[in-house]
C-alpha cells in the first residue's frame, strides 16, 4: 500500500525545519519542473476545451438566439429549468435514462469481468486470441450497423431469434419484439453488452496479467482449485481496477446513450425508449430552443458530478482505491 504515501507534501511534518511551507513547495516545484512542463499542454487543453465552453451555460438562463450579441439576448432566469421539471415527458425520460444506463452498466461489468476471468484461465493461446478478437470487434461497428443487425436478428419474419423459438416450439407465433415496451430495455442492455463486452475485458485482462504468479502458486500449495483461485486471488487483485472503473462509469449514468435508443425506438415503445438526449434533440435542438437543451445539459452534468462524488465517498469509506 505504498501508493497512499505518495503525497507527503500535504503533511506539514515533512517540511524540513527552518523552511517555510511556500519555500518548501517552490523548491519541490523546481525539482519537478520537467513534469510540470509536460502537464502544461494537457491543462491548457482542458482549460480551452472543457472549462472554456462552460460560459455557454449562461444560455440556459436566456431565450438564446444565435448570431445575436451576448448581452442583447433576453434573460429569463430559471424559466427553462421550470419547464423541464414540470414536463411529465422529462421526468419519464430521466427514469428511462437511469434504467437503461444501470442495466447496461450491470451487464457490462458482469459480462466483461466474467469473460476476462474465463479468458484468463485459458491456456490455449491461439483460442484465447481468437475469442478476444471476435468479442471486441463489434466495438468498432457504429451503432447504425449494430442496430441494423439487432433489427434483423429480432425480425418477426426472418429473425433468427423468432425462427429458433418457433422451431423449438417455445412460442406459437413470432414475437414482435419492438412493438412491446416490456422488451425494450432488455434489448438495449443486451445489444450494448454484445457490442462492448470484448472491449471491456481488455483492461481487466491487463490487470490480471500483472498479478504476481507466486500468489497462485501459494494458493495451489494450500490446495486451492481453479475456482478458489479465481475468487480468492484473481478477483481481489483486480478489485482496485474494478472500483476505479465503476466510479468513472457512475459519472456516465445519465449518458445512457442516444443512438441506440433513437435508432431502435419507435412510436409504440417511445414511453420507455426516450432518453434525456433524445428529449433534448426533440424539444431543444429541433425546435431551435437551444436554451432548453443547455438547461437539460446542465442538469445532467450536475447530477453526474454528484454521483461521482458519492461513489468516490463510498469507496473512500470502505477504504478502497478511489478516483479523486
Amino acid at each position: 500500500m505504498a501508493k497512499k504515501e505518495l503525497q507527503p507534501s500535504l503533511k506539514t511534518s515533512h517540511i524540513p525545519a527552518g523552511t517555510s511551507w511556500i519555500g518548501y513547495n517552490l523548491s519541490r516545484m523546481k525539482s519537478q519542473r520537467q513534469l510540470m512542463w509536460m502537464s502544461f499542454p494537457f491543462i491548457a487543453f482542458i482549460a480551452i476545451f472543457a472549462y472554456g465552453p462552460l460560459w455557454g451555460w449562461l444560455m440556459a438562463f436566456q431565450n438564446y438566439r444565435p448570431g445575436i450579441g451576448f448581452m442583447e439576448q433576453d434573460w429569463v432566469g430559471l424559466d427553462h429549468f421550470r419547464t423541464l421539471f414540470t414536463d411529465p415527458t422529462f421526468l419519464r425520460v430521466i427514469r428511462n435514462t437511469l434504467a437503461m444506463s444501470l442495466i447496461s452498466l450491470f451487464l457490462g461489468f458482469v459480462g466483461s469481468i466474467g469473460l476476462a476471468l474465463l479468458l484468463n484461465e485459458l491456456r490455449m493461446i491461439l483460442f484465447k486470441r481468437v475469442v478476444q478478437t471476435v468479442s471486441y470487434l463489434p466495438h468498432f461497428l457504429s451503432w447504425i450497423i449494430v442496430t441494423g443487425i439487432v433489427a434483423n436478428v429480432l425480425s418477426t419474419e426472418t429473425g433468427i431469434v423468432n425462427v429458433l423459438l418457433t422451431k423449438l416450439g417455445l412460442i406459437d407465433a413470432p414475437i414482435n419484439f419492438f412493438a412491446e415496451p416490456k422488451y425494450f430495455w432488455g434489448i438495449v442492455g443486451l445489444s450494448s453488452m454484445w457490442k462492448e463486452i470484448g472491449w471491456g475485458t481488455i483492461i481487466y485482462l491487463a490487470a490480471m496479467a500483472s498479478i504476481n504468479p507466486s500468489l497462485y502458486e501459494a494458493a495451489s500449495i494450500d490446495g486451492a482449485g481453479r475456482f478458489r483461485k479465481m475468487f480468492n486471488v484473481t478477483l481481489p487483485s483486480i478489485k482496485p481496477t474494478i472500483i476505479i472503473l465503476l466510479i468513472i462509469n457512475v459519472g456516465n449514468v445519465l449518458n445512457a446513450g442516444f443512438e441506440i435508443q433513437y435508432l431502435l425506438g419507435n412510436g409504440l415503445v417511445q414511453d420507455v425508449s426516450e432518453t434525456i438526449d433524445i428529449f433534448v434533440l426533440k424539444y431543444g435542438i429541433n425546435l431551435g430552443n437551444y436554451s432548453l437543451a443547455t438547461a437539460a445539459g446542465i442538469f445532467k452534468s450536475v447530477v453526474s458530478l454528484v454521483l461521482i462524488f458519492i461513489a468516490n465517498g463510498i469507496a473512500k469509506s470502505l477504504g478502497e482505491e478511489r478516483l479523486i
Binding site: 444565435p66 412493438a179 433513437y262 419507435n266
Partner: protein, 557 residues
C-alpha cells in the same frame, strides 16, 4: 552539449512552424489563384457556394460547367453537406461568422436569417431583369414575416409555360401494376374498394416468389412517419397542407386529427390490420427494412410519398420486375369526395439561394444568377450542349439518341459532364422560354415514352392515359395560403411546443389504435383523443395557423 540542444530545438520549432503555416494557408478560403482570365480576356470572378443538402462535388473540368464559366466569366466553387445535418453545419458557420458567397441553408435557413448572415435583396432586384421576371408575382410571398426583407431566391417549383410532370412523387395510395392487371384494370376510388382489391389478390396469391405476400405497408420510422398520420386530410378531400386543414369559407385552420374522417380512416385500417392485410412489422420496421420489403415485389400497396420509395422502385426495375412497380391512386372515403393528391408546384418560400454578408461583390453575384436565368443558359444547364448532349430538329424540338440517354442515366458521367450541380441556383421548371420543349429532358414527351417499358405501356393503354400522373385528379388552383406547412414555427412559442407534443402523442397512439382489437377500437380512439387534447395546446396551434392563413390571404390573396 547544451548548445547543440538549443540548436536542435530551434530547428524543430522552425520545422513545426513551417508545417503549421503550410497547413493553415492550405485551408484558407479564397486562396486559389486570383486574376485568372476567361478565354476572351475578361477577369474571371470567383465565388464560393454552400448548399446544405448532401451532394457530390463536380470535378473542375466538368464540361458544361466550363462552358457556363466561359459565358458568364464566373467560377463558383460548390460545397455540399457531408455527414452532418444542415442545422449543425449552419450552426458552425454562424459560430465562425464567415460564410460562403452563395448559400442555401435548407433546414438552417431560419437560423441564418436570425443571425443576420444574409443580405437583403429587395433593393437590388430591379436592376436584374431575368431575376425580376423569374420572381414575378411571387415577389410578395418572399418577404420575411418579421422584418419584411427578402433574403433568398427560391430555386424550385417555378413553372414556365406549363408543368410537364410525368410521374407523381407526392403522396398517394399506391398499388402494384400486377394487381391492377389481375383484376382487369378496375377503377379504384374509395378506401373500401382499395382494400377489397388487395384482399382478393392476396387470397389468390398468398406468396410471391415463395415469400408471404404483404398487403399494405405504412412506413412510420422516425421523421418519415407522415404517411401514417396525414391520410385523414386526403380522405376529407383537402390538399396536402401538412400541418392542418383550412376551411375556405371561414379561413380557419383546423387540426385534422380530431375530424370524423380521421376516425373513419383509422377504423378501416384497424379492421384491415386484423384481417392480416397490413404488415405486422409496419410500425416497428426501420426505413431500410421497409425499402427491402418493397424491393422484393411482395408488397401490394402502401400509402406514402412517391419519393420515399424511389430506391425500391429502382431496384424492382433493375430486377426487371416491371409489373411489381406501382401506380398512384386517389383514394377517399366515398366516391363523391374528390381526391386532391396532386397540387400545382409551389414556389417553396421557406428557403432558397441567398447571398451572405461575407460576399464582397453582391452585384456580381446577382449578375451571375441573372445570367443563369437566361433562356439559352437554362437549356445549357439542363439539356447540356447542342450536338453533344442532344439534337435539335428543324422545328426546334430537342431529342436525345440512345447513347445520350444512356449517358444521362450514369451518375458518374453526369457528375463529370453536365450542369446538374447548378440545380441549386434559381431555375425554371416546366417548359423552355419558347414553349417548344420541356426544360427537364426526362419530361420531354418523346423522351418519356422512350423510357417506358412494355408493362407501363400496357397499363397506360388499358386506362387510356398517357402518363402516370393521369391516375390522379389534375391539380386544382392552389389556395393563396397553400401550403400551410411552410409556416415558420418559432422556438419557445406555445404552438411550436404543441406541434411537438401532438407528434409525440400521434406516434404512440396511432399504431396503438390500429393494433387494438376491433371491438375495443372506439374506446381506444376516445382515449387517444383525450390524450391528444390533454397533452397538447391544440388551440394555440390552430390559432397560430389561422392567423397565418389570414395574413397570407391579405398579403397574397
Amino acid at each position: 552539449m547544451m548548445k547543440k540542444d538549443v540548436r536542435k530545438r530551434i530547428k524543430y520549432s522552425a520545422l513545426l512552424a513551417l508545417i503549421l503555416v503550410i497547413a493553415l494557408t492550405g485551408c484558407t478560403p479564397g486562396s486559389s489563384s486570383k486574376g485568372e482570365k476567361t478565354a476572351d480576356g475578361r477577369e474571371l470572378k470567383q465565388f464560393s457556394a454552400f448548399f446544405a443538402v448532401p451532394g457530390k462535388i463536380a470535378p473542375d473540368d466538368n464540361r458544361v460547367l466550363k462552358a457556363i464559366e466561359e459565358k458568364t466569366g464566373v467560377r463558383v466553387t460548390m460545397d455540399w453537406l457531408t455527414g452532418q445535418t444542415a442545422k449543425e453545419r449552419i450552426g458552425v458557420l454562424i459560430a465562425g461568422g464567415e460564410y460562403p458567397d452563395f448559400i442555401d441553408g435548407s433546414d438552417g435557413t431560419q437560423q441564418l436569417v436570425a443571425a443576420g448572415a444574409l443580405v437583403p435583396l429587395e433593393d437590388y432586384i430591379d436592376k436584374y431583369p431575368n431575376i425580376k421576371n423569374y420572381l414575378g408575382e411571387d415577389w410578395k410571398k418572399m418577404k420575411n414575416t418579421t422584418d419584411g426583407h427578402i433574403y433568398f431566391i427560391p430555386q424550385f417549383g417555378n413553372i414556365q409555360e406549363k408543368s410537364m410532370k410525368v410521374s407523381h412523387d407526392g403522396e398517394a395510395f399506391w398499388i402494384q401494376k400486377a394487381v391492377l392487371e389481375w383484376d382487369n384494370y378496375p377503377t379504384i376510388k374509395t378506401l373500401d374498394q382499395y382494400f377489397d382489391l388487395i384482399e382478393r389478390y392476396k387470397t389468390a396469391h398468398p406468396t410471391v416468389d415463395g415469400q408471404p405476400t404483404i398487403g399494405f405497408e405504412i412506413i412510420s420510422y422516425d421523421w418519415r412517419y407522415f404517411a401514417l398520420e396525414n391520410p385523414p386530410l386526403f380522405m376529407a378531400g383537402y390538399p396536402n397542407e401538412g400541418a392542418a386543414i383550412v376551411d375556405k369559407e371561414t379561413l380557419t385552420a383546423k387540426n385534422y386529427n380530431t375530424i370524423p374522417e380521421a376516425k373513419a380512416y383509422f377504423k378501416k385500417i384497424n379492421e384491415v390490420y386484423h384481417q392480416g392485410l397490413v404488415d405486422n412489422e409496419t410500425f416497428t420496421a426501420n426505413y431500410d427494412q421497409y425499402i427491402s420489403k418493397i424491393s422484393t415485389g411482395r408488397v401490394l400497396g402502401m400509402v406514402d410519398q412517391g419519393w420515399q420509395f424511389l430506391d425500391a422502385e429502382a431496384s424492382l426495375v433493375k430486377q426487371k420486375l416491371y409489373d411489381k412497380t406501382y401506380v398512384p391512386l386517389s383514394i377517399t372515403l366515398s366516391e363523391d369526395v374528390k381526391g386532391r393528391y396532386q397540387n400545382n408546384p409551389i414556389l417553396n418560400v421557406n428557403g432558397g439561394l441567398a447571398i451572405t454578408k461575407s460576399c464582397e461583390d453582391i452585384e456580381g453575384a446577382l449578375q451571375y444568377i441573372n445570367d443563369l436565368l437566361d433562356p439559352e443558359m437554362e437549356v445549357l444547364r439542363t439539356w447540356g450542349q447542342e450536338g453533344v448532349d442532344y439534337q435539335v430538329d428543324d422545328k426546334g424540338v430537342f431529342s436525345r439518341n440512345e447513347e445520350q440517354r444512356a449517358n444521362s442515366k450514369d451518375p458518374d458521367w453526369v457528375l463529370a459532364n453536365t450542369g446538374s450541380p447548378l440545380v441549386y441556383f434559381p431555375h425554371h421548371e416546366g417548359m423552355t422560354a419558347d414553349g417548344k420543349n420541356a426544360l427537364d429532358p426526362k419530361e420531354q414527351p418523346e423522351e418519356y415514352l422512350a423510357t417506358l417499358n412494355d408493362i407501363d405501356k400496357k397499363v397506360l393503354k388499358a386506362y387510356g392515359f398517357t402518363k402516370f400522373t393521369d391516375f390522379l385528379e389534375p391539380a386544382e388552383e392552389n389556395e393563396p395560403w397553400f401550403p400551410i406547412y411552410t409556416y415558420n414555427f418559432e422556438p419557445n412559442k406555445p404552438e411550436t411546443i404543441a406541434r411537438q407534443k401532438m407528434d409525440d402523442v400521434k406516434r404512440k397512439w396511432l399504431p396503438k389504435v390500429i393494433m387494438t382489437s376491433p371491438a375495443e377500437f372506439d374506446k381506444a380512439w376516445e382515449e387517444y383523443q383525450a390524450t391528444l387534447k390533454e397533452s397538447a395546446d391544440i388551440k394555440a396551434y390552430e390559432d397560430a395557423l389561422t392567423e397565418e392563413v389570414r395574413r397570407r390571404m391579405e398579403l397574397w390573396g
